[in-house]
């Protein structure tokens, strides 16, 4: 049985876990001294050797990303922390920044030092004003204590942090759209090449990393590469925060080694919300990753195994749906999200999500024919891999995987002339006895 590994979440239950004092009681800002005593290249090597892979979804090795940046030329280089967290179901960076902002700040300082950045940015999702305040306060505290700013800890190393709140757009989590937004433009993805490592923020070499990736760096430095690699699997080393939501007894963040299974996590989380209801489907990594079903309860949640099983680890956003949920309805809601969040730049995603949404909406209400299912699949085929960025690709995941696993349920809508499910049965306050009738 895999055990939880509370590292970033170790003292989330402490009194004022977010304060500098609490952080310092837990070895806070000590990794920094160790890192600053190393050569920057050695810090990069350590992160490379740890095999830390980006926690923002794509899983690109973090140390490798840093070493791919254009070599220093004396001018500015930037670290940009992606704290936009907007993928449906993903709820890890925001609680982390809420409960333990300083581990991110220490990670930023160390990572900045490693890549030669003197001014780092944290790009935060616009809606989470409470997190914004908390980050600002933490940055203020860290400056006051000499953990940030000029000549940190007397080492002569300078790192400034700017916390920037976006305006609330899913696309601004895509790294190049994020950079445009940070520069004050409308967030739409940029053409690559040039990659941010060559020309990112203000056309300077830039590394964009997820909050959790950067927050993992202090531990790697302080505890060592072997400690980190001792967790997880060979190709998916270390730990990660799994956010469980939906029909689960105790939803929340579970920090565990990569490779843990949903069966294990569900156990830790107290099982299904209603033990009498069966697990129907779930997302391994947010709504952009193809759905899994009860068949997949034992798939190790690491990059390779989830991929081999036909989905993606993504952001480890485990949304759990029991048998009361209509998959057509769920997919319809997700597609509505993608349609709303599509930035509009490219044809397949802009027009495709608009079309998918209309068809799904019809099907949910029992209007259409079986041919519409093939149409949905073909439209998805015309979007996947043809759109400009991964948002469009992701939009097709719930559609194609739900038809793959639940074709009959779609057809039942057509036969039934509407949704055969009682939507009230899926809600939190539903009981078996009473079902609310309209």
């Amino acid at each position: 049985m895999t055990q939880l590994t509370p590292i970033l979440s170790k003292f989330w239950d402490a009194e004022q876990s977010w304060s500098l004092a609490t952080y310092e009681q837990h070895d806070g800002y000590r990794a920094m001294d160790k890192a600053f005593a190393m050569e920057p290249a050695a810090v990069i090597s350590a992160v490379k050797d740890s095999a830390l892979r980006g926690r923002g979804g794509a899983g690109f090795p973090t140390g490798m990303k840093w070493s791919f940046m254009s070599p220093p030329d004396g001018d500015a280089r930037y670290l940009v922390v992606n704290a936009d967290e907007s993928e449906p179901g993903t709820c890890k960076d925001i609680p982390l920044m809420m409960a333990n902002p300083h581990v991110l700040l220490e990670g930023v300082a160390i990572s900045s030092y490693a890549i030669g950045c003197k001014k780092a940015f944290i790009y935060l999702r616009g809606e989470v004003v409470h997190v914004y305040r908390r980050l600002l306060r933490a940055v203020e505290e860290a400056y006051a204590a000499g953990h940030l700013g000029e000549n940190i800890h007397g080492t002569g190393i300078d790192v400034d942090i700017v916390v920037h709140a976006g305006a609330g757009a899913y696309i601004c989590g895509e790294e190049t759209a994020l950079l445009d937004s940070l520069e004050g433009r409308r967030g739409q993805p940029r053409s690559k090449p040039p990659f941010p490592g060559a020309a990112g923020l203000y056309a300077r070499p830039t590394s964009v990393n997820n909050v959790e990736s950067i927050a993992s760096v202090p531990g790697i430095i302080l505890e060592g590469v072997d400690w980190f690699k001792g967790m997880g699997t060979e190709k998916s080393a270390g730990f990660g925060i799994f956010s469980l939501s939906g029909h689960v007894k105790n939803p929340g963040q579970y920090e565990a080694p990569l490779g843990i299974t949903l069966r294990e996590l569900l156990d830790m989380a107290g099982g299904m919300r209603d033990p009498n209801k069966k697990l129907k489907f779930w997302t391994p990594g947010g709504s952009s990753t193809p759905l899994f079903t009860a068949e997949h309860l034992d798939v190790p949640l690491d990059f390779e195994s989830v991929g081999a099983a036909g989905s993606m680890l993504g952001t480890r956003a485990l949304q759990i749906f029991d048998e009361t949920v209509c998959v057509v309805r769920a997919v319809d809601r997700w597609i509505e999200f993608y349609k709303h969040e599509s930035c509009g730049k490219c044809t397949p995603c802009r027009e495709g999500t608009w079309w998918l949404a209309q068809i799904l909406h019809r099907l949910e209400h029992g209007q259409g024919t079986e041919a519409d299912l093939d149409k949905l699949l073909d439209i998805s085929d015309n979007i996947l891999g043809r759109s400009f960025c991964a948002l469009g690709d992701g939009a097709t995941s719930p559609v194609t995987s739900s038809i793959q696993h639940f074709r009959d349920e779609y057809l039942a809508h057509l036969e039934h002339g509407g949704c055969p499910f009682d939507p009230q049965a899926a809600v939190l306050w539903a009981t078996d006895k009473e079902s609310v009738s309209a």
Partner: protein
């Protein structure tokens, strides 16, 4: 100019649909495919705009050569995939070629054919079925490519996105949002090419749309190009919208008559009416662009006031006459005059100008002829004779291409965006793509200068000669020194016609060019000036740049014209002719396309009232009131001819419309005939042949003038020095009849430096009263951060700031400025 031939090493060889092509390194796949004769469908791609890869219509399959093996040869090409196992199509408009790359387009890849059909289908789901009523129908890339790359039937059964239509994004450009395919061509054009990012894509998803900024209207001189490059009928021109279908139009290649940029255009007409004009691609001149004036200012010929028949004055009133009668009256009048001159404006074709030049010498026996119906000087005449006439691209003169590759360009008395818009576009491109440094000796840093990344060398009107001399000496402000150093490394000096008003400035400019080795070019404003100079419609020059004072040159021309001799004293220039008319020394004048107000004559009565006036006119002007005979002549659309652009490049055009109007040369030929002379200017061909056979003179070129700068005039208290030029869009009579165009003309403002405003106790937005010798005007004040102090800038001919016509002033005058209502 030496051009480096493309080296074999700069070429990249790849295979597209089995065809091997070699293209310059860095080329986009879509361009390489064109080289191979394969057309990949596209919407957002445009060769003159930076790629965006937005529409995804141009997808292709790409195989990249693998890394080289131990023996150095690259391994098997591998298909680009993603997600693994699935071919990942690439946008051919954003991906550059690589050696050994293998590309499969819709021609050889079924998956690509499907991908393209998929994108096309998606583009069409929200596109309305407007084709039967859409301006673009019949010449629409969406229509055409839907036929070539789309399905025959639609699978879309749901609801289309709709919008209330249309939106006015300016008075002349309308947007039907539901037709827009969101390719961002219009926005990229405005931002990148024109530098006027006043439209932008706004909103998200399928609701994304082209938006305007309420506080900054889409007032760009180049906005019409967006209508032309929009790949659908989403952008339409207000004047043309719903007027015609492309297949009902007859197109005639034409050349713009509005400035010396020399744009190639196409005039589209139907049953004798011009419906629109489009920019025609001429890579060496205007590229694919023109300006809104060239595109939309053609209605002046059909506002209903054309002279259709000759007229003669009888008992003080003009009445219609037959051609024979009018010619008889004109011939008699000129015959009785003791001495006559010729005022020919800078708007006629080279052939017309030649006929005026010949008429003056042969029929009137005078060199009193000048095309410069604008401020000018004798120094300018010498400058033109020494440095300009007879030069051209063939002879190695400065060209557009040279501007694009110049390291430094110095502008003297020249505001390209207002005075020669395509020169502006070329300089902006040079700045963006070639890092060309632009410096301007001017009183005020304009927006146009900022868009060229230009630096101002501030100079109050009248001080230009000293400033130019300082650049030559390499001494002065830091910027002067920089400009001097930069020019010394080779560069181009562009001189505008306004420099003629400053004594010594043209001399200084020529000396600067001589000293630095920088190349010099003169950019007049009007389309006909350069051609008229070459044709000898000039007091000191005969055709081909031959000096009036050069006996052998005169003999050459006399021989060609079959005359015993030619008048040998240099003639009066425009101002001289006006003065002589005023004094009565001249009592006859032939006027062709000149508005007396252009001459800065406030009292036309005193000048023209006493003389016998023959006026060749298209429409009434201020000369009409003094004309004894009016001979109606053709507009540019009604005749064939040639303009010579600022480069010295001939730009020939055909008559678009068939009418009974004659070009000026023909009218002059008939008049000459009536006066007993054979002018030999009956057809354009006849004139052009004679011009060609006469060719350029071979006599020695005079040396450049050496006029010393004038002593600066003291500026009295409360007075400012007036600086002025014309906005491209203003009250010019050739913009008449086009209210939509006029709607985007810049509003008149008075510009002063912040310091000057402070001294006078004025602030931004104040209405100020500018008192001139002859009157006053009241305009809103704008303070400019970079501007010479004690100077006020006003537009020459805009509504509310009518300097030449109403006030008869010119740059350099001293004016008194107060806040309106004070005083």
């Amino acid at each position: 100019m030496t051009t480096t031939p493309t080296q074999a090493t700069d070429l990249v060889t790849l295979t597209i649909d089995g065809i091997e092509v070699s293209v310059p390194k860095g080329s986009l796949i879509i361009r390489a495919a064109e080289e191979a004769g394969i057309e990949i469908p596209r919407f957002c791609d445009h060769p003159s705009l930076d790629p965006v890869g937005a529409c995804r219509q141009c997808l292709v399959e790409v195989w990249m050569p693998g890394p080289p093996g131990p023996d150095g040869t690259p391994s098997e090409a591998r298909q680009m995939q993603g997600p693994p196992g699935r071919m990942k199509p690439q946008a051919s408009c954003t991906m550059t070629v690589a050696p050994g790359m293998v590309v499969k387009t819709q021609v050889t890849s079924e998956a690509i054919d499907k991908a393209q059909q998929g994108v096309m289908e998606l583009l069409l789901i929200n596109h309305p079925l407007d084709c039967p009523v859409c301006d673009k129908g019949g010449e629409c890339p969406l229509q055409n490519q839907a036929m070539s790359a789309g399905r025959e039937t639609s699978r879309f059964e749901d609801s289309k996105r709709t919008y209330p239509k249309p939106v006015n994004i300016s008075s002349q450009v309308l947007l039907d949002r539901e037709r827009c395919v969101l390719c961002a061509r219009c926005t990229r054009f405005s931002d990148q090419v024109a530098g006027d990012p006043f439209i932008a894509l706004v909103e998200r998803g399928a609701l994304q749309q082209v938006g305007i900024y309420e506080e900054q209207p889409f007032e760009s001189y180049f906005s019409g190009n967006t209508v032309q490059i929009c790949p659908v009928g989403a952008l339409t021109g207000a004047a043309y919208r719903f007027r015609s279908r492309p297949f009902d139009l007859v197109s005639t290649p034409s050349v713009c008559e509005h400035c010396a940029s020399g744009c190639a255009q196409r005039t589209d007409h139907r049953r004798g009416t011009i419906l629109r004009r489009m920019a025609q691609n001429d890579p060496e001149v205007n590229g694919e662009w023109n300006c809104d004036k060239g595109r939309w200012a053609f209605a002046y010929s059909s506002v209903g006031d054309r002279f259709e028949f000759p007229m003669v004055r009888e008992n003080g009133e003009l009445r219609v006459a037959s051609w024979p009668e009018a010619l008889r009256v004109a011939a008699a009048g000129l015959g009785h005059a003791n001495a006559s001159g010729v005022l020919v404006g800078g708007r006629v074709s080279a052939e017309d100008a030649y006929a005026y030049a010949k008429f003056a010498r042969q029929v009137l026996g005078t060199n009193d002829i000048d095309f410069r119906a604008r401020p000018h000087s004798a120094e300018e005449a010498d400058f033109l004779a020494a440095s300009v006439v007879g030069t051209g691209p063939q002879g190695g003169a400065v060209t557009y291409t040279d501007l694009g590759s110049a390291s430094t360009v110095l502008l003297l008395g020249f505001e390209p965006e207002d005075e020669s818009p395509i020169v502006f576009l070329r300089l902006r491109k040079a700045f963006r793509k070639n890092k060309t440094r632009v410096y301007a000796v001017s009183p005020v840093a304009s927006r146009g200068l900022a868009k060229m990344g230009g630096q101002l060398i501030a100079s109050a009107p009248g001080t230009e000669a000293e400033v130019i001399a300082a650049i030559k000496a390499g001494r002065g402000s830091k910027r002067v020194e920089e400009a001097a150093a930069a020019l010394a490394e080779g560069g181009v000096i562009l001189v505008g016609e306004r420099l003629a008003t400053v004594p010594g400035a043209l001399s200084a400019a020529a000396a600067l060019a001589e000293h630095t080795g920088a190349r010099l070019a003169w950019v007049p404003r009007r389309a006909g000036e350069r051609g008229a100079l070459e044709a000898g419609a000039f007091p000191t020059l005969l055709p081909g740049g031959r000096l009036v004072t050069d006996a052998s040159a005169r003999a050459e021309v006399a021989l060609a014209w079959d005359l015993a001799g030619l008048p040998d004293t240099p003639g009066r220039d425009c101002a001289g002719i006006v003065a002589a008319l005023r004094s009565g020394e001249l009592d006859g004048v032939v006027i062709g396309g000149v508005d007396p107000f252009d001459l800065g004559i406030g009292d036309a009565d005193a000048v023209l009232g006493g003389a016998f006036v023959v006026s060749l006119e298209q429409r009434p002007s201020a000369a009409t009131a003094y004309a004894d005979v009016i001979l109606p002549v053709a507009t540019v659309a009604e005749k064939s001819g040639t303009f010579v652009d600022w480069e010295g490049r001939p730009r020939s055009f055909e008559a678009a419309l068939t009418t009974t109007y004659v070009s000026d040369y023909r009218a002059l030929d008939m008049l000459a005939d009536e006066m007993g002379h054979f002018l030999g200017c009956r057809t354009q061909r006849e004139v052009a042949d004679e011009m060609t056979s006469l060719g350029a003179g071979t006599g020695p070129r005079p040396t450049a003038p050496n006029v010393p700068p004038a002593e600066p005039r003291q500026v009295a208290d409360g007075h400012l020095v007036l600086a002025t030029w014309r906005h491209l869009l203003d009250q010019g009579s050739m913009q008449d009849g086009e209210p939509f165009l006029a709607g985007t003309a810049p509003r008149a403002t008075a510009r002063v430096s912040a310091t000057t405003a402070q001294t006078l106790g004025l602030a931004d937005g104040d209405e100020v009263r500018v008192d001139l010798v002859t009157g006053a005007c009241v305009v809103a004040l704008v303070t400019i951060s970079e501007m010479a102090d004690h100077v006020i800038w006003l537009p020459t001919n805009s509504a509310g700031s009518d300097l030449r016509v109403a006030l008869a002033t010119e740059g350099g005058d001293h004016v008194f400025v107060t806040k309106d209502g004070d005083a």
